[in-house]
Symmetry: C2
Subunit: 460 residues, 2 copies
């Protein structure tokens, strides 16, 4: 039914929230019309309600929560950006919060509370059943950003000696099964996972078939201590749908499903992109101007210092510039083109490191390639800039200086773009960690130095 | 069993290919030891073999294929980067290729051949059964990068009036079921999907239960014409595991599973990151220096032209610089700090657009926030730079010029960083499309103009 009703919209559907809907919601909230608000929000997916709450202003958000907060469910809370989660939770009456949280799986509760302040954490934990609370508290003993925090503890297992019939009968009995599960995990007597069977195989195999005969090749376990970024990579690389998580002694403690891994992959990408640009990865679209300014100031101040290096380099050549003031106009060209080349090389290297495509077995070849590519592009750009300079200023030697400086700086840019992230990576740091500032400082300093230095030697 | 054997390694496991293993493979290939090569590659996952082939040099790749190519399976081909896929396929004997391709699902065959040249496409299509070939050819009629290309045509459906028992019996009979499926899709008489049931629900419900009573809320259909990037977003946003794909008349034509959506999400991110840096998104770690240089040259040449704008601006102030040559050293500081601020604002905006967090309902607020944040950081930086300049050069007016230029350029940077991608987006273009070059040109030109202009008015 849904299919027919909406099919014509689907073609252009890009899942952006309808701005008109947002306007209506805001209007309903501002006029205090609780019924209209409920009618507008009720049909929306929890993830879309969360997005809407992030996208309206803080005052409007408070009005919406005031009128509609009683209806909020756990899913909405778990979809909210960290930046406003605390604010929303504080705005909810304690019993509403308790009701909302009790609907969630253990992994979602962990995700919800891990960054909250102590009193808010307590309020949520206090709302849970004893056994759910124990599950959440146990998950919280694993390190932040680990598989142990990401996994859900609700697992469907079967002893390794069972047949298909045993498993089907077991699942058919009245249990509380997890909302979503894709495999039955086979465990030995010590509760070590030894394989898994898809539900599809279970449904299509004969009852007498031993489960161990129909396990999947894709089976691999994940340590609860493993970093969530590596877990996300493994899911993407090996096309996993779910994977059992084991503790230090190899015993099954939970399961991670691909939807959680996909969310982590998405966050990791966001982090890389923002860090590369020198932005704190905690930044959100709902942040106010002051928060935004604070998040960005540190790298700006660092850049102010590194830019002073360029100024010092240039000041060494003040005599040269005083004698030929046209140099002052030309010098940013070499520096700026170097900055772009460095950024290109950097983006490729950071991405390749994140995708595990760049590692010690091919690092040498990639560095050599960057060197050669930098040299080739340096030559092409040198020919263009050098001839233009020589013609415009009727000075062959000026063209030569421009061209030579360009080649030198392109090589430095290409090498810097790959060596800076490789070095950070080898030091165990995030290769995206503001590599941008390092590399553009390098290309600025080198660009000014090469151009003014060569000009001093050749032109004066 | 696998669990116990490898559990100790898991903790540090980041899934990078072991460089020693790569060395051994290369050594075996170079010494022509086919048995050793087979022994080394046999235990690897297809995705890891593909990565290995990408990471070794071209000559080594040919040797490996020469010795081991007969054993290659379809999965390895489908995991290969486009950049070397053609090369690998050409190196394989026709019958090996045919055997490898016949193992693949229709969506993987489509992905494999869509970018190949005509004769290679024919060779692969010719190897398929008549019905598989028809399925692949039909998928190829959907636009590139559409859901129709991404979906697999193997679907498990049930009439909407069936009970759990009907479905279980149907699945238990000897069919060819897809390797991976997570839902039974319910269809009406016209083959329109009307809901779906998870296999877990099927296994845990009573036989007499009508399927329509246990359908999932998450159900939504996807048009075959929808862009794959939007599909990936929908999977991530709504935690979908699989989704039915419908043609223009709403009839079920295939299904997309989350692992394919996750791969698309990953590619889209790569594209954004590389485009933002002005790199052709077809670039790969296996590309040679010449290919690399060619991919990057266009934006470098464009930057050469835009950088000339800065040069022209500066040249208008040559008299000013000639009278106070220290200005030449100081002018890059304002421009460079502006470049960083612009890049920060840009990265946040491009990311927010990709995540559908920035749209017409909050664009105004975000632009206002950027304006205010730029002003705030401009003031902070102006105080630091202005005082430093005034003290070092014993000239209060020089400090004033530095500070005022900094504030102006920070505001331009923050605004440019958000307005450039918003404008590109509204024009229907990719907001990441080399916005970096636009924004840094803007901050360079503005930085030089504001600084030198103010200096001319205030200092001379």
């Amino acid at each position: 039914m849904a299919a027919q009703a909406t099919e014509t919209e689907h073609e252009d559907e890009d899942y952006t929230l309808d701005p008109e809907l947002v306007d209506h919601v805001v209007a309903a909230a501002e006029s205090g019309d609780a019924a209209a608000l409920r009618g507008l929000l009720e049909p929306l997916h929890a993830a879309d309600i969360a997005d809407l709450l992030e996208q309206v202003g803080a005052a409007q958000r408070q009005e919406i929560l005031h009128l509609w907060g009683d209806e909020i469910d756990g899913e909405v809370l778990s979809e909210l950006d960290e930046s406003i989660r605390e604010e929303v939770i504080s705005a909810l009456p304690r019993d509403v919060l308790a009701g909302a949280v009790r609907e969630l799986d253990s992994d979602d509760v962990v995700d919800l509370i891990e960054d909250l302040e102590e009193p808010q954490q307590e309020a949520i934990l206090g709302a849970l059943d004893v056994s759910d609370r124990a599950a959440v508290e146990q998950s919280l003993t694993w390190p932040e950003y680990s598989a142990g925090r990401l996994m859900q503890r609700e697992v469907v297992t079967a002893p390794e000696h069972w047949t298909v019939g045993d498993a089907v009968d077991f699942l058919g009995r009245d249990h509380e099964l997890p909302d979503q599960f894709y495999h039955v995990i086979l465990v030995d007597a010590a509760h070590h996972p030894v394989g898994y069977v898809t539900l599809g195989k279970l449904l299509s195999s004969r009852r007498a078939t031993p489960l161990m005969q129909i396990t999947e090749d894709s089976f691999r376990t994940i340590s609860a201590r493993q970093e969530e970024g590596d877990v996300a990579y493994a899911f993407n690389q090996y096309h996993l749908i779910s994977a059992p998580v084991v503790d230090d002694s190899g015993r099954l403690v939970g399961v991670i499903t691909i939807d959680d891994a996909m969310a982590v992959l998405d966050e990791e990408h966001e982090e890389d992109m923002l860090r590369l640009a020198g932005v704190n990865d905690e930044s959100h679209v709902s942040d106010g101007p002051l928060t935004t300014a604070k998040q960005r100031l540190p790298w700006l101040v660092i850049n102010l210092c590194t830019a002073s290096l360029s100024a010092i380099v240039i000041s060494q050549f003040e005599n040269t510039i005083a004698r030929l003031v046209a140099l002052a106009s030309l010098m940013p060209i070499v520096a700026s083109t170097g900055g772009i080349a460095g950024t290109q090389s950097l983006a490729v290297a950071v991405r390749a490191l994140a995708a595990r495509d760049l590692n010690s077995s091919n690092a040498k070849r990639v560095v050599r390639r960057e060197l050669l590519a930098g040299m080739l592009n340096g030559i092409s750009l040198a020919i263009i800039l050098g001839s233009a300079g020589a013609l415009l200023f009727h000075d062959f030697r000026l063209g030569l200086v421009l061209g030579m400086a360009m080649i030198a700086n392109q090589i430095v840019a290409a090498l810097g773009g790959v060596l800076v992230p490789l070095t950070l990576d080898r030091m165990g740091l995030d290769p995206a960690l503001a590599s941008g500032t390092f590399v553009t400082t390098l290309t600025d300093v080198m660009g000014f130095f090469a151009f003014l230095g060569l000009a001093t030697v050749i032109l004066l």
